[in-house]
Symmetry: none
Subunit: 222 residues, 2 copies
């Protein structure tokens, strides 16, 4: 019997997963979590074989939750199932230690097959992603020892901590004057930082920087 934990912030989605899984006589759902923190807690309590993990969840997201569960040494396998077939997500997710990555528009049978695969130690990736993922991997091969906690997007990787911090508040919609005031800086300093951010990321102006911040999940939609 394969035990499964469902982590998704949408009740209907969880319901669908639960019904599907419970309809199989070799699977059982041992819990449901609506965010990453809850998922970690329930994994710690129930030690499920597989976690169906959504990425977009309030608070702690699925990627980070995956990272922590894997880092904690749990034998639980993570199968990421998300709405968006973004290669960057897949990449981050697999780097975080997930055993698989499927998109929600997969057929129910595919999902069941995926659960069984990761439960038995295999890895699965949505067919629509395989190619791009492979390309991404090849591209990232030369980089062997990635320092720091989270490398994230290539373009953001070159930013310093301070620059990432500045970019984050730009993504909050703050003006240079506000940034200077709230971060206790001179406005000229803020401009210097922003100039470097734009140069490093290739963004033309703060608007494109904000878009980049959203696209790379540096900031997330409210």
């Amino acid at each position: 019997m394969t035990t499964v934990l469902i982590a998704d912030d949408q009740p209907m989605q969880r319901f669908g997963f639960r019904m599907l899984l419970e309809s199989q006589d070799d699977m059982t759902v041992v819990g449901e979590a609506s965010n990453g923190t809850e998922a970690i807690r329930l994994v710690d309590r129930h030690h499920p074989d597989v976690v169906l993990m959504d990425i977009r969840m309030p608070g702690l997201d699925g990627i980070e939750a995956t990272r922590r569960i894997v880092a904690a040494g749990a034998r639980t396998r993570i199968l990421i199932v998300t709405t968006f077939d973004l290669d960057e997500y897949a990449y981050d997710g697999l780097r975080a230690g997930a055993s698989g990555f499927l998109v929600k528009d997969a057929q129910p049978e595919e999902l069941l097959a995926g659960v069984r695969a990761v439960a038995s130690g295999d890895a699965v990736v949505a067919p629509s992603l395989t190619r791009r993922l492979l390309d991404a991997y090849i591209h990232h091969l030369p980089e062997s020892g990635a320092p720091g906690p989270s490398p994230e997007d290539a373009r953001l990787g070159a930013l310093t901590d301070r620059e990432r911090e500045i970019l984050t508040v730009i993504g909050q919609g703050w003006t240079n004057a506000e940034i200077a005031e709230r971060l206790h800086l001179a406005e000229s300093t803020v401009k210097t930082h922003i100039g470097r951010i734009l140069a490093k990321t290739g963004a033309r102006d703060r608007v494109q920087a904000v878009i980049l911040a959203y696209d790379t999940q540096l900031v997330t939609p409210a």
Copy 2:
């Protein structure tokens, strides 16, 4: 017995809905459609009491499908169930003739209650939407009281189609000059539109407008 048709492009979502509905002894699912065209065809064939209609579907979307089904004089009631709680969608959907609008992160019980409500001729709107929808409606009503300047509006609901279009491309990072060129407009016209967008949304500048666009899913991360 209430007969229901499910129209959603995601198989797993359909599965969840079907399981939920079939678990009720006063409901039965008479068909599933994965796009608007198919939904229209199946409504014509089965004449269901209620259609659970998703908005985002390939080809003919849920709004247009709703419009055509209602226009065809079918006694079928449409209950729009979508991922995004955008007032503009709700507004469009209800204008198109839908009897209700719920978001997918609703509790299953809410959804069942919604189906029963529209089947019996009532209208339902997700609680999270009611207030904004009301604001939008009030704005479209003939003014009787003190008109005044009223510079501020709730959110995207008050935007015209053109303004929403402009906001979308701002969210792509385009400059005013680029917008003017690619949309075959004068830059002054672009500025006029943007000025109105900022006034209506309450955003201070285009950066905050972009943030709003992302937060409301008008534009989605790449």
